[in-house]
Symmetry: C2
Subunit: 366 residues, 2 copies
């Protein structure tokens, strides 16, 4: 990447993602102008993020080197085309969760000569909250930010977006729009469908079996956490990526059917073999994208009393250990005070020593 | 429950569950004798749990009022029948994860007149670890312990087991063996299959698409955490409960297919309606069995730096708040420092005040 980061950008759409990107850009010394069709959101973003809010899209993008369009998926095509027209020298990027549908929409709406300046993007961060009042630069800290140029995208435009992504503290990963959509279908969209379907099934069963959720322990809770996400947002994403979801969901159902056949045939060995493959892969999976392939997971038992987690986290903080992630985990069938700590792999030994010195008994899992 | 708790019990099988039960019983002032076919396990249990370990099953159960059999599923029938024969006055219970298969096995192996003294059971606790060296009385603290008498079980025997369960600190929930097996198929066994199948699918895709797991954020990780469980243990459980799994998995696949059809038909409204049902049910789901219907979940943002969790947990500990559960949560597509705190519902207001006084901004989710 030879491009310098931009000095001035515009953010179109000041919801959670747009305002967070604006804040991260401001932190990096980049001047930001913003616009949102809802004056209320714009006012909050202005106050919270120090964004210079302007009354229309045209004034926002006027002097921007890069325009970041953070609109809902159905509005992205129009907003990107408008930004390309209003800022004839700027690079325009978007933050939508699917890419091929947005690319097609922009192609229909923008003038052909403007298309090379459009660089499709997808910051893989966010929050269950929404709205600029919950924005924070930490939304983009260290996340994977997919940059997805097409064959028509100017390579210099792509490099400029990548320089911007690096400047705000995220990690640019280049994929074609098709690969992006195919991969997120498996690791983001399919898990959402699997989670909501399981929770919906249990809720229907609960009508006949009120005790069912009483028996639902940590494992069930892990599987259904995503089911609490925003229904309309997700319906929009899934429909926009429907061909890829069709494939991924088809393969998933096939796999479930095969396991079902083996279980019904009492072929425990075949079931255990598939489960062993899955276990190996899971232990190799990173805990946090930005330190992937460089993390360690330590298991620590803690008593279930007030202050127990405080003691643990004080011990680690005093020892200078940065906790990448901490989860109270549960066995397949119960709950108790077992904590999984994720730390950078290079810190694992130090973290273990710190814990052992304080009479914890850490076990390295991965 | 009019039965007093027992004064003497025997534990057959001194792995993680057996040793933990022995420790919890010892804590309650109950005398415990133990036996395990593996002398190594028995020695660890003796040292760690203070169990009086004896050289054979007969001497273990001799004076016991209740015998708790904690063997692997395939060995349960034989061990229960042996215990019933060796201790003609004792009540015998087991801890297997499925119940109908065990009941059938015991019926084949035990003398008919002994059957009323067998009370099938299932403590819904455990740990990813195994072996007596990781046992702890906290494994059974506050968990749901299913007591599953058949029509042939003596009601007084059932009451004696329930009194024992209460004495060790767990919560007895009475279900028939069939209902137990049906319910755990949905909330325990099906999640395990769904999780392992998803992880296995992603691992196979990774061969062609090495970047796929780079894009796997918090949601995928939640869905696949169970995939790290013991493959052989689970294969055994699933095969033993295969008829119920067949039904539950069939309903799950049907639901996935219906969602797939609606997504492919671009019927976003129908998808959103199903997701909204699931969201409602998920928000109503308890975080921890023993405080079910009595918990609150608070969402708190924390910076991603060393000591941040320590500050949060110190604040709560100083305020006398018992953290029922704490998780660093992730949005469907990213990771950052958002913490979900679970506290008893009666403590939620107090916890919020404590946090606000320390300049946190808690949001009550459920």
């Amino acid at each position: 990447m030879t491009s310098p980061p931009p000095e001035r950008i515009a953010v179109i759409g000041l919801g959670l993602v747009g305002t967070s990107v604006a804040m991260a850009a401001g932190r990096a010394g980049i001047a930001v102008r913003g616009w949102d069709p809802q004056p209320g959101a714009a006012a909050v973003a202005a106050e919270r993020a120090g964004v210079e809010v302007v009354p229309d899209l045209g004034s926002a993008v006027g002097e921007a080197e890069i325009v970041v369009v953070c609109a809902p998926i159905v509005a992205l095509g129009t907003a990107v085309a408008e930004a390309l027209a209003a800022a004839p020298a700027a690079v325009v990027t978007d933050t939508g969760s699917v890419k091929e549908a947005v690319v097609a929409d922009v192609s229909r709406r923008a003038r052909a000569e403007a298309i090379p300046r459009f660089v499709p993007g997808h910051p893989m961060g966010g929050s269950e909250r929404s709205g600029p009042q919950h924005a924070s630069p930490s939304v983009v800290d260290g996340i994977v930010w997919v940059v997805a140029p097409t064959e028509r995208t100017d390579p210099r435009a792509t490099e400029r977006v990548e320089a911007f992504v690096a400047a705000v503290g995220a990690r640019a990963v280049r994929l074609t729009p098709g690969r992006h959509d195919r991969l997120v279908a498996f690791v983001s969209h399919l898990p959402q469908v699997a989670s909501s379907a399981l929770m919906d099934l249990a809720a229907v069963e609960e009508a006949d079996e009120p005790e069912i959720l009483l028996l639902a322990a940590g494992g069930f809770r892990d599987l259904t956490r995503l089911a609490a996400s925003d229904p309309s947002l997700w319906a929009e994403i899934l429909v926009a990526n429907r061909d890829r979801i069709d494939t991924a969901l088809g393969l998933y159902v096939e796999r479930l059917q095969r396991l079902r056949d083996r279980i019904v045939a009492a072929d425990g060995e075949a079931v255990a073999a598939t489960f062993a493959n899955a276990k190996r892969a899971r232990l190799g999976l990173a805990a946090k994208p930005q330190v992937r392939a460089g993390v360690a997971v330590l298991q620590v038992e803690v008593p279930d009393v007030p202050g127990a987690l405080a003691s643990l986290t004080i011990t680690l903080g005093d020892g200078g250990v940065n906790i990448e992630d901490l989860q109270i985990v549960h066995s397949p069938e119960g709950g108790r005070g077992t904590v999984h700590l994720t730390v950078a792999a290079g810190e694992a030994e130090h973290a273990s020593s710190v814990l052992e010195a304080a009479d914890y008994d850490p076990v390295r899992l991965a």
